[in-house]
């Protein structure tokens, strides 16, 4: 077989359109409190287990369960004490993160 018979794509064009629409900034990570205000990273690194804080935050989409969350977004660098930009997503702080990816800064991963 030398040639693919048919190539139909669904997700690739959608992701491409999203990327071209302006989502080009690399994703950033900030530790935020329930109001979406950026706090020092150790708050997330040492956060208690889920369930110790039951209140929902006021930052759009803030989940219930932790006093602090890692917040992933596209935009400028996080500033401690200021609200992070909207439209991002949260990850629970129960696991350590950032253990991969550091070598990629300024380099290309592919060959």
């Amino acid at each position: 077989m030398k040639r693919s018979q048919q190539i139909a794509l669904g997700m690739v064009p959608l992701v491409a359109a999203s990327f071209l629409a302006g989502c080009k900034d690399p994703q950033r990570k900030a530790c935020v409190d329930q109001n979406g205000v950026v706090v020092p990273d150790p708050n997330c690194a040492t956060a208690p287990a889920a369930g110790t804080s039951g209140s929902a935050g006021t930052h759009a989409g803030y989940p219930v369960g932790y006093p602090y969350y890692w917040y992933w977004y596209r935009g400028g660098s996080p500033v401690i004490g200021r609200r992070a930009p909207g439209g991002g997503s949260y990850t629970a702080p129960a696991a350590a993160r950032g253990g991969f990816g550091s070598t990629a800064a300024g380099r290309t991963s592919g060959t």
Binding site: M1, K2, R3, S4, Q5, I7, L9, G10, M11, V12, P13, V15, A16, A17, F19, L20, K24, D25, P26, Q27, K29, W72, S89, T91, A92, A94, A95, A96, R97, G98, G99, F100, G101, S102, T103, A104, A105, G106, R107, T108, S109, G110, T111
Partner: protein
């Protein structure tokens, strides 16, 4: 093989972006370059396919040799990593794809290097040039069954890998790595997998659950477009080397043996004079006054020196601390000022297609251009 100049489609940039090639420019110059195409005969394609199959066979023997003779140190691979490689080599976890970069002057086919761990230029080879062919030369053929073979491999793995199947990248803003994993994810979805895409730095580590995703769900199988030689030295590197972790990494860690440029010297040691290999030596040019010096872990042509009697040219970069391999200069033809390198793809160990990248000099870097190809059936 000949290079044929042609007028690009007026809307080419919009056309290829709509198919996912958001990185169709490098700076202000086209990366996807359809102002020309490469034409092969069917006989040439048969020879390239046979050479690819043969090189894959040689690499299997070389991998076993490195393990049996414990030559990891020569490749800059630590003892802890070598133990993980041995385990993976014996366990044979899934390996998906790779790309041999070949020099071809119309007569000889020579291996330049093997991008076995994190090959890119996949979307353009599999999808973009296929659609280009349908529109411009529907009666011609193309060495390109990548899409079908990727889906076939995922189907084979469907019952052995649990959902969801993750795809991780570390895109630096160009969109290339993101679109590469998005495309691979789509081929897995078409084979029936539930897939999720995440960034490498979103991968979490939890002592109870092991590796987890952005919602703390355990990761059991993951494709990562991220080099093993980086992973093993980063903060979570110790966890990936731990034999107790119940996670399947694609590509497997033993691909470090093939993506290492030192493989070229080991292949030459084992098969001196082989028709598809160039003379190569580890750490010393061994009398080769004319040669190319490549860092063992270099990526996209960084820190490569071309040494000839008339002088030395060097590409920039920050690789080389781990050592170098010295390889004879390949017979890459210069066609109207362009040096083509043929990327011959392998999926599940089988030849799967061809992508041509050309540069203005002998070293293919991240500023090279991808040029589509076709071949004419019955044309010898």
């Amino acid at each position: 093989m000949r290079r044929v100049a042609i007028d690009p489609r007026p809307t080419w940039a919009d056309d290829v972006r709509a198919l996912g090639l958001v990185y169709c420019y490098t700076g202000d110059r086209p990366y996807w370059d359809e102002s020309a195409y490469y034409e092969f005969t069917a006989a040439e394609i048969d020879r390239l396919e046979a050479a690819t199959r043969e090189l894959h066979r040689l690499c299997l023997e070389a991998g076993q040799h490195i393990i049996d003779k414990n030559r990891f140190g020569e490749l800059g691979i630590s003892f802890a990593t070598s133990e993980a490689i041995r385990r993976a080599w014996d366990a044979e976890p899934p390996a998906l794809y790779g790309r041999f970069d070949l020099a071809y002057d119309g007569h000889d086919i020579k291996l330049l290097e093997y991008n076995a761990d994190t090959p890119t230029a996949l979307l353009e080879a599999s999808v973009i040039q296929w659609y280009w062919l349908q529109e411009r030369f529907p009666d011609a053929d193309q060495f390109n069954s990548l899409h079908d073979q990727l889906i076939a491999k995922w189907r084979e793995l469907r019952n052995s890998l649990p959902d969801p199947l993750y795809f991780a990248h570390a895109d630096q803003g160009t969109g290339e790595d993101l679109m590469t994993v998005t495309y691979l994810s789509e081929t897995a979805m078409q084979a029936g997998f539930e897939t999720r895409i995440l960034a490498m730095d979103q991968i979490g580590w939890n002592a109870q659950a092991g590796f987890v995703d952005f919602e703390d769900r355990p990761i059991r199988s993951i494709f990562k477009l991220y080099p093993w030689e980086w992973m093993v030295h980063e903060a979570f590197g110790g966890h990936v080397l731990d034999a107790r972790q119940g996670i399947t990494w694609i590509e497997p860690i033993w691909k470090m043996l093939w993506s290492n440029k030192g493989l070229l010297a080991i292949l030459w040691d084992l098969f001196p004079g082989h028709r598809n290999l160039l003379p190569a030596r580890l750490h010393d040019p061994a009398g080769m006054t004319t040669h190319v010096r490549k860092p063992l872990f270099s990526r996209e042509g960084a820190n490569v020196s071309v040494v000839t009697p008339s002088g030395t040219t060097v590409t920039p970069g920050d690789y080389g601390a781990e050592g170098f391999v010295y390889q004879a200069i390949a017979p890459i033809p210069c066609l109207e000022g362009n040096y083509p390198v043929l990327g011959s793809w392998v999926v599940d160990g089988e030849p799967a297609g061809l992508g041509v990248r050309e540069s203005h000099d002998l070293v293919t870097t991240n500023t090279s251009r991808f040029v589509p190809h076709l071949f004419l059936s019955g044309n010898d």
